[in-house]
């Protein structure tokens, strides 16, 4: 067994790997909170660091039943890319580890492929982290207990100032190197229209009601800051008009001159997929952009504080 310890500031990862079988035995990912224990300030700081992690895991649990967690030296990614299983929807969520953890240690399979890909059931992670809302310390390790697990150890402080540890073992599947190519960051398509989203709560209320009437929905927008949600059945047509939303500056000058600002780009999508995406957003994001490729795909690009989320819904065939 070789044990490779790579210290990259300020993070330590220990990998125990069998030379003969190449099987990964143990990877230790140590995340600890910033300050020394024992003071009130520390407790507040700790819950401040843990709460956003809980928020992200809750959001992911709402967006994807099963997802891939990719761990690299700088970032954590939650990935949904199994087009067949998700009905064409894909998701790429990214957070910089330094914005969340004061200590972060990881080491991948090799120096050249310094990444770890794990498949897990999202709800297991959010449920485990729920205990960590007001934790004193949070440790996550990759362990092997008959099968690979993400072991989440949460140190809680009780009223009597004595601490107790709650441990959750989340079964994970380590994804082999040969499958990593299917889990790369999706290329953002050249969109026909790019527009800032309205208040997501309003969008969600409207789409929830529209779902009672129809299974499909048309989302359309133009470069004049207008976005419409439309449903149409034999019995009823409902259109919700959002105005004055603003459009982000276009990447290419030529594109903006060529296109009529009033002209709508539209996509017919499954209404449940849109509702699932909206239901996953608990707070209004710092930045929310919607990119539409006419009749092909709608791409949502959100930033929640330090977490970026991209969600792709394809057109109905």
């Amino acid at each position: 067994m070789t044990s490779a310890v790579l210290k990259c500031c300020p993070v330590d990862v220990t990998v125990n790997r069998s030379l003969s079988t190449g099987k990964l035995h143990r990877v230790e990912l140590l995340l600890q909170t910033k300050l020394a224990p024992g003071t009130l300030d520390v407790l507040l700081s700790k819950s401040f660091l843990c709460a956003p992690a809980v928020g992200v895991s809750n959001m992911i649990a709402k967006l994807a039943k099963t997802c891939t967690l990719r761990i690299s030296p700088d970032k954590l990614n939650f990935i949904l890319s199994d087009k067949l299983a998700s009905g064409g929807v894909s998701m790429w969520c990214e957070l910089e580890q330094e914005n969340f953890f004061s200590e972060f240690q990881m080491e991948g399979i090799s120096a050249a492929n310094n990444e770890i890909y794990l498949e897990l059931t999202s709800e297991n992670l959010s449920r485990a982290l729920k205990t960590a809302q007001n934790a004193r310390a949070l440790k996550i390790k990759l362990t092997n207990k008959h099968y690979p697990c993400l072991t989440v150890s949460i140190e809680l402080l009780s009223v009597s100032s004595s601490s107790r540890i709650v441990t959750h073992d989340i079964p994970v599947k380590v994804i082999p190197r040969r499958l990593w190519k299917d889990l790369q960051e999706p290329t953002v398509p050249d969109s026909d229209v790019s527009i800032y989203l309205p208040v997501l709560k309003t969008m969600k209320s409207v789409v929830e009601k529209m779902k009672n009437i129809s299974n499909h929905l048309i989302i359309e927008a133009n470069l004049n800051g207008e976005l419409n949600l439309k449903i149409e059945t034999e019995l009823v047509c409902v259109t919700t008009h959002f105005k004055d939303l603003g459009n982000p500056p276009l990447a290419s000058e030529n594109a903006s001159q060529a296109r009529n600002p009033e002209q709508m780009a539209e996509v017919h999508i499954d209404i449940r997929k849109l509702l699932q995406f909206l239901a996953g957003q608990q707070a209004n994001p710092t930045k929310a952009v919607c990119n539409i490729v006419n009749n092909k795909i709608v791409h949502f690009d959100l930033l929640h504080e330090d977490v970026s989320l991209q969600y792709f819904i394809p057109a109905l065939s």
Partner: protein, 239 residues
């Protein structure tokens, strides 16, 4: 807002045009009678009556007086159409069933005439939703012939108390018996179930009694498995 002003210019010949500052004044009342998919709307210059019927034996009516609306115009003597009430309610509550405190959703309702769809314009916080609901041939609704001169007894109760009473009724009873009398027990709901008979009495000077006019004692029975819906307004019983 350009969308609405264009609409208003065309509306002079419309059979029915109505505006409400708060759509919930309408949706709450309609929810109370929503026990079937379809409803018949009957509008005159006095207001709108929405009727829901079940198997020709139960009829619920919601009356929304013209005075409730900020604007109310009916061109002909009466306007009638049949509409999908489920869809209508989904549209009226498009911005959410429970409104955020302090926000109001405004409604403008337009009906061009026979064969045209019902148009709804709902606005909340600058966002406008336009709904176009197809209408159908109105069906004959039961006319219970509530002629005022034949009214023997009239009791008006606050619906909250009555709703509580209805929820406590013994459902093993096949019938609900309603007794009204100028003498005691004044107003009584009775059931006859497996455990025995039970009576709920409302004295005529009870707080829940809005008005009580009884000329003679009357006992009526009705089948108990009918759903009863009450809204936030007073419930009326006319016998």
């Amino acid at each position: 807002m350009p969308l609405l002003t264009q609409q208003i210019q065309d509306e002079n010949d419309y059979s029915l045009v109505a505006s409400l500052d708060n759509v919930r004044n309408l949706s709450t009342v309609l929810k109370a009678i929503h026990f079937r998919e379809h409803a018949t709307c009957f509008a005159t210059k006095n207001g709108i009556k929405v009727t829901v019927e079940n198997a020709k034996c139960v009829q619920a009516n919601a009356f929304i007086q013209a005075g409730i609306f900020q604007e109310f115009t009916v061109q002909e003597e009466s306007v009638t159409f049949r509409i999908n009430l489920t869809v209508l309610l989904d549209c009226l509550s498009i911005f959410g069933s429970s409104p955020m405190p302090g926000t109001l959703t405004a409604l403008r309702m337009c009906y061009q005439g026979y064969g045209y769809p019902l148009m709804l314009f709902l606005e909340e916080g600058g966002v406008v939703t336009v709904c176009k609901i197809n209408t159908q041939e109105p069906e004959e609704t039961l006319d219970f012939d509530f002629c005022s001169t034949n009214v023997v007894n009239k009791v008006i109760l606050q619906s909250e108390g009555l709703r509580e009473a209805f929820s406590e009724l013994d459902m093993t009873s096949e019938v609900l018996q309603i007794t009204m009398s100028p003498d005691k027990p004044y107003f009584r709901l009775s059931t006859f179930g497996n455990a025995g008979s039970s009576h709920l009495d409302y004295p005529k000077d009870s707080d829940l009694m809005e008005s009580f006019h009884c000329n003679q004692t009357q006992v009526n029975r009705s089948v108990l498995n009918i759903e009863v819906a009450t809204d936030d307004e007073d419930t009326r019983f006319l016998y």
